[in-house]
């Protein structure tokens, strides 16, 4: 199992809180491996709400063209790491 850094843990917590707010997703379901569509039942439009909330929370911009590549929670964690350097 890979080690989760503090920043990654903070992002996962942030995503979990966003999912709770937007879709009522239980926190324990939000693991790095969780697939938004298949495991968390987040459809494409709800995903946009998640993305917009993530932009505000992490002070980043997620272009429309990137949204389709955010398939799992870990993808968002990696995206945030990449753009916040």
């Amino acid at each position: 199992m890979t080690t989760i850094t503090t920043q990654q843990a903070l992002v996962i917590t942030g995503i979990s809180e966003i999912l709770q707010e937007v879709a009522g997703t239980p926190a324990e379901d939000v693991t790095p491996e969780a697939n938004f569509a298949e495991d968390l039942d987040i459809d494409s439009l709800t995903m946009v709400e998640v993305v917009v909330a993530a932009e505000e929370r992490f002070s980043i911009a997620i272009p429309d063209a990137e949204v389709k590549d955010l398939v799992t929670v870990a993808d968002v964690v990696e995206f945030v790491r990449r753009v916040t350097g």
Partner: protein
């Protein structure tokens, strides 16, 4: 020496308002179950993603002109304005499949407004609210005493019935209003604009010329990037809607109705939330059994709110149209 001024400038009314509204809904009702087999979908999937339970699709006799004329005649009757008094007939549509003449000339003839200026307006799903701004300015500017503004669409002719992303969304129909003079303000300042950098978010798969060059290709149809449109329609349009309230000097709690373009119930509800609309303000949800009727959606939704008693005549409504362009127009109006 040439004179530098025109001796007479047009004289308009001090204010404009919507005096009457009318709608036409095609007779054929198409429930989700009737279309799911072509898009490998289900009634539940469609309802969850769009809130749409059914839509109406026009028959051969229910043309853009025929539907628009019926809606227009109803609006005139409600307004108590005779067709001869119309200075202009403006039609918002994206589904009149002839480059010329404008379908507005046909509708003007059908309602008995021979002689009135008649032209079409192309702003896709935002066409009606663009037209409302234009009609108000025409009445105030003196270029027409009364304007018949029609939104009429046969979206079933423009969609790809095998495209599982869009085939279930759209419906057909027509809505119309009469805009005329008023001693008090009845149509607030418009907040409008377009973002051409996003013009590929909703577009036609090919131009008519491309079809002519390659007759073997499939008929051009509407195609849409759903996530991109959703983000813009909810978050950017919330700003435009709030701006429309601000410039009209109206607060959200003073509204008697919120009538956004009926694109998708998910957009309608997310937009209301993003605006911070008080829970007691009635929200138009005509999309549930009409689908997205593009330029017809706002007047059809207004007509339904009024006829169902959900919003009062004389009340204040916030309208916002948004769609391909990406284009939008929003304003506060006094309901007829």
């Amino acid at each position: 020496m040439p004179s530098s001024t025109v001796p007479r400038a047009p004289l308009g009314a001090p204010h404009a308002r919507v005096l009457g509204v009318g709608g036409y809904r095609p007779t054929r009702v198409v429930p989700n179950d009737e279309i799911v087999h072509r898009i490998d979908s289900s009634d539940q999937w469609i309802r969850e993603r769009s809130g749409i339970a059914e839509r109406r699709w026009a028959g051969p006799e229910e043309t853009v002109a025929a539907m628009g004329a019926i809606a227009g005649a109803k609006a005139l009757a409600q307004a108590g304005v005779t067709a001869e008094r119309l200075g202009a007939v403006v039609v918002a549509t994206s589904t009149h499949f002839a480059q010329l003449p404008a379908v507005a000339t046909d509708i003007a003839e059908r309602v008995g407004a021979r002689g009135a200026a008649a032209f079409d307006l192309g702003a896709a799903c935002a066409g009606f609210t663009h037209g409302l701004a234009l009609a108000a300015d025409m009445v105030r500017g003196g270029s027409a005493e009364y304007v018949l503004l029609v939104g009429s669409e046969r979206m079933s002719d423009l969609i790809d019935h095998d495209d599982r992303a869009t085939a279930f969304l759209f419906g057909d129909g027509a809505g119309a209003v009469v805009v005329g003079p008023s001693p008090t303000p009845g149509i607030g300042p418009v907040v409008w604009g377009a973002d051409g950098s996003q013009r590929s978010a909703i577009e036609q798969t090919a131009s008519w010329l491309e079809l002519r060059e390659d007759p073997g290709r499939s008929f051009p149809a509407l195609t849409m990037r759903g996530q991109q449109v959703f983000r813009w329609a909810v978050y950017e349009m919330a700003k435009a809607a709030r701006d429309a309230l601000d410039v009209a000097g109206v607060t959200a709690d003073q509204l008697d109705a919120f009538v956004p373009h009926q694109a998708n119930l998910r957009i309608v509800e997310a937009l209301a939330k993003a605006i911070g609309l008080p829970g007691e303000v009635p929200i138009a949800r005509d999309v549930v059994d009409s689908g997205n009727t593009s330029a017809a959606s706002v007047p059809l939704a207004i007509e339904r709110l009024l006829s169902g008693g959900e919003a009062p005549s004389g009340g204040l409504a916030l309208t916002i149209g948004f769609g391909a362009g990406l284009s939008h127009a929003a304003q506060v109006l006094t309901l007829p």
